[in-house]
């Protein structure tokens, strides 16, 4: 049996769209992975929020991969906090991936995102956390 590539959906942006950021969704066994890339600020936070909240909320867990985000500010931080709190109230898990020593990670740390959602350094460790979370509470 050949390994199947998980289905990947573009929610926002993409090549040639002129968007500041793009968002893609990929199904993993343990939950949904949302990958954001580009820059997130007040000018595109509404369309990003919209794209994310449009998703059917059926997964056990959500991983937000910010590895390819080059810039984010308080608009993004607020979205992440809101999302984390909303998911927690429904007993769903949210993990954020952001590489250490990157500018976005610095902003996430300064605004204490870890209070609401665990932050993993890499996508792999994020996915491991997501899987583990299905059995054990963090």
């Amino acid at each position: 049996m050949t390994e199947q590539q998980p289905p990947r959906r573009e929610l926002l942006g993409g090549a040639g769209s002129g968007e500041l950021a793009s968002v893609t969704a990929t199904e993993h066994g343990a939950g949904l992975v949302l990958a954001i890339s580009g820059e997130v600020d007040i000018s595109n936070i509404d369309s990003i929020t919209h794209a994310i909240y449009e998703l059917p909320n059926t997964e056990e867990g959500l991983l937000i991969d910010l590895s390819d985000v080059s810039y984010l500010d308080s608009s993004a931080v607020s979205l992440l906090h809101d999302l984390a709190m909303r998911l927690r109230s429904r007993a769903q898990r949210m993990i954020v991936v952001s590489p250490p020593h990157s500018p976005p990670r610095r902003i996430l740390d300064l605004t204490a995102l870890y209070v609401n959602a665990p932050i993993a350094d890499t996508l792999d460790s994020g996915i491991r956390l997501l899987r583990a979370g299905n059995n054990a509470p963090l």
């Binding site: 040639g16 002129g18 500041l20 820059e39 600020d41 007040i42 000018s43 810039y71 500010d73 308080s74 608009s75 931080v77 607020s78 906090h81 809101d82 020593h101 500018p103 610095r106 902003i107 300064l110 605004t111």
Partner: protein, 687 residues
């Protein structure tokens, strides 16, 4: 003494002997009039407070307050003075007593023990008199009512006519406010309407000789005296002397205005606006005026709602056009772009003007502007096809001349001759400092040099697209230096009826020469100075491209207060920091970008009016000190819910010094950051 509420024919019987009351009752029963019994003068007076009485039978000699005293009090009260009183006296009464009885207000008297027939007859006469009187009052009330109804119908008719006549919201508002002022004899009138984009109610039209000044031309629902009335959704009459000085000012009652009539405009329960009528005299307006204007306001609200929906329909078409224009222009660290599109006149239709800009690589962008002949959906579709084809040619790397040749072929092949479109296609290379252009029947772009001199960049004159398959488009390359600005436009900007086109081109060059350096402001200035604001027959598009001069000492930006400007400001800061603070490590540079963006975002979040407001942002370096300021002309407020209150702490955290200077008319946020003094390093990581 139970139930004597409002029985118009009621007869009040007053005697301190119950057996006398019982006898009277028996005598008067056959009249079939309601009877009320009182055993003392005091009881009688109390009873009269609660009922309408046709006649009072009053015993003269009573314990406590006697009949004469009781009668005098009844006569002295406005509510009872008209009620006839028949005194009942004993057989032995002196003439003197009877005289006194008449003096205290009796209309007749009967002597006890009375003859039942005579008493019934007398009482019957007074009851009949009372009925006639009531009837007369009714008639005169009905007449007044009829007159009022006629006036109301007339008033409503006049206001409804206005409501039906005007579809344009501003014309409608002007007509409604003018006619209301005339009909109600108001010295001043103001109509405020809601606005989809802005909170509160806003002055839309005024009338009258006097000025009714509302602060900022705006009422916040629920705030101040008028806002509180608006919140109740009911009308009100205010007298200036009942208000304190502050409320008088808030209600717009300046010198010479003594009373105010306020009614809300409600449509399907929704508050559409507020109509204010002011008069020079106190008590000029009465309850009836309030009721009538409230009734009229219902019709006005419907008309306003209708007109706004109509305007929205037009907005929809304009939105279609705008959706065919790029949502955001490329953000290029070495080039600054701004564009404006203005739809034609009043008719709801899509114009054929369009523009686009595509980033080709780190140094080059392609900009294009065009005009498809005709209006409406067809023109818009053609425009969208041209735009997509041209984008593809540009990204594939075709030169402007080559791209136009290809496009000409596409147009002829797919549409055949007859579809006319003009086009200007330009590639700007910031590294080479060149601008390469080709055009198909489109006006050439204008270039403003750093010294302020202006000229058109000509190419060989060519035909529009889709006219001649043998047409060969030529391209030209000109130098373009940092700080220079290129302006692309459509002919709507220069065509004016009854004027030689050369005059219009001269006016455009003049406008460009005098325009502010900042590209957003430059576009505004050019549109304004070429008279594009009013009475356009054609739609207009302009696009400005400026080569950024990052070597110039300080960064000075003036940007419209909208979300996209925050991105522009950040990218400009990034380029400026690379040039002016190259020793910064990536984290420190990102810190400054975030602090700067947060300050700009806060201005944008609280901007009042999306297109009109601008803000200033500047950055400068003084030795090892970096100073960034963001200044706006609105009231600065602490970052609100959209940033989750995290903007301000971030700004504090990411700068060494944060000062927020709030003045009455502006707010300046200054952030200072010290650079490492001993050359490039990583000392900036944690401030």
């Amino acid at each position: 003494m139970a139930d004597y509420q409002d029985q118009p024919g009621t007869i009040l019987l007053v005697d301190d002997h119950r057996e006398n009351l019982a006898a009277l009752q028996a005598v008067l029963e056959p009249l079939r009039e309601p009877l009320v019994l009182a055993e003392s003068g005091e009881q009688a007076l109390r009873a009269l407070l609660h009922m309408e009485c046709s006649l009072i039978l009053l015993d003269v000699r009573m314990a406590g307050m006697d009949g004469l005293q009781t009668a005098r009090i009844i006569r002295s009260r406005p509510g009872t003075s008209h009620i006839p009183i028949i005194f009942m006296t004993a057989q032995s009464s002196e003439l003197d007593e009877i005289t006194k009885a008449y003096e205290s207000g009796a209309v007749d008297y009967v002597v006890k023990p009375f003859e039942p027939e005579i008493l019934r007859a007398k009482v019957g006469v007074f009851v009949q008199l009372h009925r006639e009187r009531v009837e007369r009052v009714r008639e005169s009330r009905a007449r007044a009512e009829a007159e009022a109804v006629a006036r109301a119908v007339r008033t409503l008719q006049i206001l409804s006519d206005a409501a039906m006549t005007y579809l344009d919201i501003d014309e409608l508002a002007a007509a409604l406010v003018q006619r209301s002022a005339e009909l109600f004899g108001a010295a001043a009138a103001v109509l405020l309407l809601r606005d989809d984009k802005l909170p509160g109610l806003h002055v839309r039209a005024r009338a009258g000789e006097q000025a009714l000044e509302i602060e900022d031309d705006r009422i916040r629902v629920g705030e101040d005296v008028l806002g509180e009335i608006a919140a109740t959704r009911g009308g009100a009459i205010l007298q200036a002397h009942d208000l304190d000085a502050e409320d008088r000012a808030k209600a717009g009652l300046g010198d010479g205005l003594a009373s105010l009539l306020v009614v809300p405009l409600l449509s399907a329960g929704e508050l559409m606006g507020l109509l204010l009528l002011a008069a020079e005299h106190e008590n000029h307006f009465d309850q009836r005026d309030l009721e009538l204007l409230t009734l009229a306001a219902d019709r006005m609200a419907l008309a306003v709602d209708h007109a706004q929906r109509y305007a929205d329909g037009r907005l929809l078409v304009e939105t279609l056009q705008l959706s065919l224009l790029p949502e955001r222009l490329p953000l290029h660290p070495r080039m600054q772009l701004a564009a404006r599109y203005m739809p034609a006149g009043l008719a709801p239709q899509v114009g054929g003007d369009w523009y686009d800009a595509v980033e080709l690589d780190d140094n080059r962008i392609a900009v294009m502007i065009g005009d498809v002949v005709g209006h409406g959906i067809r023109a818009a579709i053609t425009m969208s096809e041209l735009r997509n084809a041209l984008r593809a040619f540009a990204i594939e790397g075709h030169s402007p001349g080559e791209a136009l040749r290809q496009l000409d072929r596409v147009v002829l092949a797919t549409r055949g001759p007859g579809m006319i479109a003009t086009l200007l296609f330009i590639v700007i290379d910031a590294a080479e400092g060149t601008v390469t252009l080709a055009r198909a029947g489109h006006p050439p772009p204008a270039l403003r040099a750093v010294d302020g001199s202006v000229r058109f960049l000509e190419t060989a004159r060519t035909l529009p697209l889709g006219v001649d398959p043998n047409e060969v488009s030529s391209q030209e390359t000109y130098p373009m230096k940092p700080g220079e600005t290129l302006l692309l436009f459509t002919d709507g900007l220069v065509e004016r009826r009854g004027e030689p086109i050369t005059d219009s081109f001269d006016r455009l060059l003049d406008a460009l020469a005098q325009a502010p350096a900042e590209v957003e402001l430059l576009c505004e200035h050019v549109l304004q100075k070429t008279g594009t604001e009013q009475g356009r027959d054609d739609d207009v598009a302009v696009l400005a491209v400026q080569l950024v001069d990052a070597s110039v000492g300080a960064l000075e930006l003036k940007l419209p207060a909208r979300a996209q400007s925050v991105t522009v400001a950040r990218h400009r800061l990034r380029a400026w920091l690379e040039e002016n603070a190259p020793e910064l490590d990536p984290i420190a540079r990102a810190d400054l970008e975030v602090a700067w963006s947060e300050a700009c975002s806060n201005v944008v979040r609280h901007a009042y009016g999306p297109a009109e407001a601008f803000f200033d942002a500047s950055a400068s370096r003084e030795g090892n000190e970096l100073r960034m300021t963001v200044r706006d002309t609105g009231q600065w407020r602490a970052p609100g819910s959209r940033s989750g209150g995290r903007g301000l702490p971030l700004m504090k955290e990411l700068s060494d010094e944060l000062v927020i200077d709030r003045q009455d008319d502006s707010t300046t946020v200054t952030m200072v950051r010290q650079l490492p003094s001993d050359g490039p390093g990583t000392a900036m990581l944690c401030p």
